[in-house]
Symmetry: C2
Subunit: 578 residues, 2 copies
């Protein structure tokens, strides 16, 4: 061993001991004829007292032996700040070229440069903390689920391409020419098979792959905490994983979350927050005001299916310019509203609105009251098709929450969203799609509608599906699955999938279900996102050791890349010419 202690370990009680440390030189400075150096490793930083600076450079790897002495000027900001090492012998274990950016809490390197030298960026304390947090969460998840009788079972990565869902990454098979494996988008099929196989409680922290055009903060490979249970109803699944999240919050962050967690129906979430992943750290909920504003001659409202509004605290002070800016903001394509109506509740009790000429102050006051607005607030209203307008109000609500500093990443407000609609009607293709996936079961009490031929009935069917939402982000979700062959046939029928097509696409799992599938259900959490939110960050990139960029490239290793013609020959494939 190259050391007796780590660089984060020595304290005042170690004074007088002879120790050997090893690590990286973070900084060297001369002061009044003495030379100080900061020696860094994963565990911390220890100050060295040297006879001379020698030829030490930044990021040199060294080994020093010396005596622990009490510092003259202590540094209370670091745990080793009371001591330093009076170095007797110093050995350079490895020299280092000057790194292309500073390796400290904050770096001076740009994003691209740090991505290229990811192994140096990973030396920075924020990234070390991020990966340490990730390790800790993984351990806690495994220990909790193990204690609950779950077995971690590895499912294959070389599986079969299925035409449903997102795009697969495929892997040409050399031994089976012209054929391909696919990388799993999730172990969904396999975990359901494990329930058929009687494993009762399965989990896996597992990589998943989706060849999608990358939006911000999506990765082509990502990690799930994937779980499934047999002989359970929705209540059992929610309780089990609420327990897991409660344990994580407590053991990892020391945070107590409510017991039980709040639950909100999908309908209430859409109506009140304009989102199926509401951020409930703050109020400012959406209120429908259609009934209060139609029939007074304001054509825009009169011609809309829905009018809704939020009350922004303190907003009465917004200037004309600020309101114009907000109006432009909601009209951007990312939000897509046609315009913005406001009702300002001045401190003096007067009301001012952009639609004064259509409504009396009393009528406007009624709207304000419905929204819970008080003196000094502003009511912002949008109109249009119901769900679309609610979504726009939801986006506006989050923006106002951000502007008002109501979205503190150190505050955690988790909840379950339940009672999702089972089916979504698509006007374009004139058919239903499964909102979750085609194996999700309708709620038993809605089965009468599920077997009805009326579109209206089918739209009313709710699923035993649920999402775990934290601070406006969906961290996980799942459902109780269909375990009955007849119900599964009905589902395919509703989705307009013919028997032949169902057999082709899902025949293998349908077949497996004939041999005694137990009632089962489960869910999956996005592990990368759980880690990021626990770390108080919105982006997952720093919680993944070696992420890819928005073009799906790993710029550090320069991948993907061209391969040897011999490899193409062996695989019997050609790259198409332009």
């Amino acid at each position: 061993m190259y050391r007796t202690h780590t660089c984060g370990e020595l304290r005042i009680c170690n004074v007088g001991q002879k120790v050997t440390l090893a690590g990286w030189v973070q900084k060297v400075r001369s002061l009044g004829g003495m030379t100080f150096a900061d020696l860094r490793d994963r565990y911390g930083i220890t100050q060295l007292l040297l006879d001379s600076p020698g030829d030490l450079g930044r990021e040199y790897v060294i080994q020093v032996t010396g005596q622990v002495v009490e510092r003259q000027s202590k540094n209370p900001r670091i745990p080793t700040g009371d001591i330093e090492i009076k170095v007797d012998t110093l050995k350079i274990l490895n020299k280092a070229s000057v790194p292309p950016f500073t390796i400290e809490e904050e770096s001076d390197g740009g994003e691209d440069l740090r991505a290229k030298y990811r192994y140096l960026d990973l030396r920075r304390p924020p990234l070390q903390r991020a990966l340490a947090l990730r390790h800790r969460i993984g351990q806690e998840v495994r220990n909790y689920l193990d204690a609950q009788g779950f077995m971690e079972i590895e499912t294959p990565y070389l599986i079969k391409s299925t035409p449903e869902g997102a795009r697969d990454f495929v892997v040409p098979s050399r031994m089976n020419k012209g054929q391909f494996y696919a990388l799993p988008q999730s172990p969904q099929t396999f975990k359901q098979l494990l329930m058929v196989a009687g494993y009762d409680r399965y989990f896996q922290i597992v990589r998943c792959f989706r060849d999608e055009d990358l939006r911000a903060d999506r990765q082509p490979e990502f990690t799930q905490i994937d779980c499934e249970m047999s002989f359970v109803e929705q209540e059992d699944v929610l309780n089990t994983f609420e327990g897991m999240m409660r344990t994580l919050f407590k053991n990892v962050l020391g945070v107590d979350i409510p017991n039980p967690l709040p639950r909100m129906s999908w309908y209430d979430a859409m109506d009140g927050y304009g989102s199926d992943k509401p951020d409930i750290r703050f109020g400012m909920t959406i209120h429908e005001i259609t009934d209060l504003v139609q029939g007074f001659g304001f054509g825009v409202f009169d011609g809309s299916q829905y009018v809704g509004a939020i009350a922004v605290p303190g907003g009465a002070e917004y200037t004309r310019k600020q309101i114009d800016e907000l109006t432009e903001w909601v009209k951007r394509p990312q939000v897509g509203a046609k315009g913005l109506v406001y009702i300002r509740l001045n401190a003096d009790g007067s009301v001012k609105s952009s639609v004064d000429k259509f409504y009396s102050p009393e009528q406007l006051a009624k709207v304000a009251q419905r929204c819970g607005a008080e003196k000094g607030d502003i009511v912002l209203a949008l109109c249009g098709p119901k769900r679309k307008t609610q979504t726009q109000l939801g986006v506006l609500r989050l923006e106002m929450g951000n502007r008002l500093g109501l979205r503190n990443p150190g505050v955690f407000a988790p909840l379950w969203i339940v009672d999702f609609p089972l089916l979504e009607w698509d006007d374009e293709t004139q058919r239903f799609y499964a909102m979750h996936h085609p194996f999700t079961a309708p709620k038993p009490e809605h089965e009468k509608w599920f077997y009805s031929d009326s579109k209206e009935d089918l739209e009313k069917v709710c699923a035993n599906a649920y999402d775990f939402v934290l601070n406006g982000t969906e961290l996980g979700g799942g459902s109780i699955r269909i375990h009955d062959a007849d119900m599964q046939s009905r589902m395919f029928q509703v989705l307009g999938i013919s028997k032949e097509d169902a057999q082709l696409k899902f025949g293998f799992i349908i077949n497996a279900f004939k041999y005694g599938a137990p009632p089962h259900g489960g869910l999956a959490f996005g592990f990368d996102r759980v880690c990021a939110l626990f770390g108080g960050q919105e982006t997952i990139r720093d919680y993944i050791a070696f992420p890819k960029n928005n073009q799906g490239r790993d710029v550090m290793i320069d991948s993907p890349s061209e391969i040897d013609p011999v490899q193409l020959e062996e695989l019997q494939i050609d790259i198409r010419k332009e």
Copy 2:
């Protein structure tokens, strides 16, 4: 929840309780007007007492409610054997088609059929035990390494193809046309980068991929326990992972292994066992007898570089026919010996040999003595080039160990093999190859030879490399890595890799090492094999939930398979015509 208890839980103390169980019907039998059924789940089997057999079929999924009663005829072979459930209500949760083979401890299904219906084979208790063992070992590994300060860090699966080593599986990139990712053969590069990045102690239980022609008991995807440590010497690595294996043996199997574990040099292993993964559960070691048998006119021995022998206990009783069969056995191409010489030490003290006419009884007795043979034993000798002959003797030794029942899978004899040669000379290409990999460091005390230009010197260089061997199987191995740029250059020079080529193939890691690589080393264990050997099995297939067959196919999901022309179009690749 569909149940109050599992099928493995109820005992005599539960008699009188009203319970609800759910599971699979394993067996129904009528006896004296009563109907009994065995209800099975992952946790066990509970006997049900029913009014009538109804229409229950094998593998039906049912839920029953009833009272726990004491059995009239108890079954001491199962933990629930004292009780049964007097069923009040029975609900069929799911019917089941008749399974294609019996789902019991031993199945009547052939291997292919069971592979196709893997989800049914997985219901069988031996496979349930195998996967439960695997889960337990994984948990113990993680808890041990976590306690030792290791962090589990996930490395990417979509990486870059490198032309060295085994064949890569590649993944065409849609967003980067004509370019490919590769699936990792191991996270070797990334774990070394994590050491450069200062993570100090890394591990990962991780899938690896090799597109090799599959030999028996190889899988195209397999799992490693992959580990790396910084600021360590070989001794530190061995102690850490010896501790891990000791903990596994103790916590999983309740077995104490020696402390410290035996260590054997690669040279002693080859000389004494003809293998770098010796099975030391039994003796019967190989002894060189060249000096005792040359110069007496027996041309076959006189013309050989090496003559070696083993003494087989009790072998003096072998008949002529048995010895002929053994001779044919060693001449099979899988062993490849030219012939077999024996010396029989009869119980009456006389000596009988196939080479009697060249050697006196005294000379033969000397050979027998060297081999440790006693009266009643037989000495079996082979000759030829040294290492080749030792390997043949090693194979013969294992065969005789098998025949004599000396290889009990319930006995565990782990050891470390150390002091591997750094380099292997290949006569065909007239160059050295790295025995482990090109990043393995020579032993510090052998550096003088490493920098020598003489082939003889270079052949003497040992590596700080080590294998963990259990019962004749290599479970893991690793090395101390080169962390010095100059030494790495020398290594490439010795391997005949030009600077340009080294830069092309390894440039990225060589570059990373310029920024302050710490001394580091590590190892990887084959997780599938660790599980199999802990389970007392030789083959890994039952310790993998969904394995592939020898053609790399998953016959259950029928993968690999053809993909949609649209997918090929998107990837801009074509399958070559015949």
